[in-house]
């Protein structure tokens, strides 16, 4: 089932399974699908007791957007662990990448450096002048309005990542991920979360319980840190996967 794995295109025509096993698999899965659908149709949906409770307690959560309230207050422990999930991937990929990738003498003593790339995308560079401030603005807006409207740390982080990706793809800028400052940016979200949990425990006696009067502000601060980390980690995933062993080949279509 997972014996054979193909990585490159040229070999993708090979099939691990015979036609017969594929048909058998399709049959089994369709039976499962039909059974699952039947179970869904036959069983009634539960009453939205929990939804009503969540909406009732919204006033106590410090934010008005119910999803943000769930993510950063009611079930903030899940969000904390989730940022840890992202951090795992970041740590795994954070090795100083292959030496040969930086023939263009990018400054690796800085987190974000400008290099003399052989190839700079002219249209993207022009676009970037508008894209970067716009992206940062949009990200800030999403973060801020996450308290009452759809949006929040994940969405803001994703937009910020988009800005970074545009910057990296345009060819002038280079990110170095094993420096202290970069490591700090990657971890700041989790640090803020853990610090908040500890601080709240001191203030209210219960881990992750916000003092009600300051809940909105603390949530915003934690979200800000989380946004920065999420954006940095997602950007890192992208740059570490794009960084080819030799840069000269990178932007060939």
């Amino acid at each position: 089932m997972f014996r054979k794995l193909i990585l490159s295109e040229s070999l993708s025509s090979q099939n691990e399974m015979t036609l017969l096993t594929r048909c058998a698999l399709a049959l089994v899965i369709s039976i499962l699908t039909i059974g699952l659908s039947a179970a869904l149709i036959l069983s009634p949906k539960a009453e939205p007791v929990l939804a009503i409770e969540a909406l009732d307690k919204l006033a106590l959560s410090g934010v008005e957007n119910p999803v943000t309230a769930v993510l950063l207050n009611f079930r903030s422990y899940d969000t904390l662990l989730e940022i840890a999930v992202l951090l795992i991937v970041a740590v795994t990929m954070s090795t100083p990448s292959n030496k040969q990738m930086n023939q263009s003498a990018a400054d690796t003593s800085r987190w974000l450096s400008v290099n003399d790339a052989q190839f700079v995308h002219p249209i993207l560079t022009a676009l970037l002048r508008w894209l970067i401030p716009l992206g940062i603005l949009l990200s800030g807006y999403l973060l801020w309005t996450g308290a009452y409207l759809p949006g929040g740390a994940f969405q803001a982080g994703a937009v910020l990542t988009g800005v970074g990706v545009a910057l990296a793809v345009a060819g002038r800028h280079h990110f170095t991920w094993h420096l202290f400052i970069a490591r700090f940016v990657l971890t700041v979200g989790l640090i803020a979360f853990v610090a908040m949990a500890a601080g709240n425990a001191l203030a209210t006696g219960i881990v992750l319980q916000y003092p009600i009067e300051h809940a909105g502000l603390i949530i915003l601060l934690v979200e800000l840190a989380a946004t920065i980390s999420i954006a940095a980690i997602l950007l890192m995933l992208f740059t570490q996967i794009t960084a080819l062993p030799n840069t000269s080949e990178r932007l060939k279509p």
């Binding site: 295109e9 943000t68 759809p150 949006g151 969405q155 994703a158 988009g162 995933l237």
Partner: protein, 96 residues
């Protein structure tokens, strides 16, 4: 069973059917590149469904992360995997 003929319902049926078709096409694609492009389209289609289901937060995240960033990562990885390695890496060879 009463069939309610409303535009909204038909729109949802259309969305559902096209999502399923697109998912099938994505995995049936012979070419990996086609599969990636179709997957990104699927992500955008699903974003519309999230909006229909009143999940705006999820829709924004799906469009940005689920479709956009995942698509970009898959595309970049695909491009690199097809790129022959010129310089043999100095990383450890099999120890065993």
């Amino acid at each position: 069973m009463v069939i309610i003929v409303s535009i909204e319902l038909w729109m949802d049926v259309l969305l559902a059917v096209s999502t399923v078709l697109l998912a099938g096409l994505t995995l049936a694609a012979r070419n990996v590149f086609t599969a990636i492009v179709l997957y990104v389209c699927l992500g955008l289609l699903v974003t519309i469904i999230w909006v229909r289901l009143n999940a705006w937060d999820v829709a924004i995240a799906e469009a940005a992360i689920g479709a956009g960033l995942t698509g970009a990562l898959l595309l970049m990885a695909w491009r690199r995997l097809n790129h022959p390695v010129i310089v043999p890496s100095k990383d450890a060879k099999d120890v065993s």
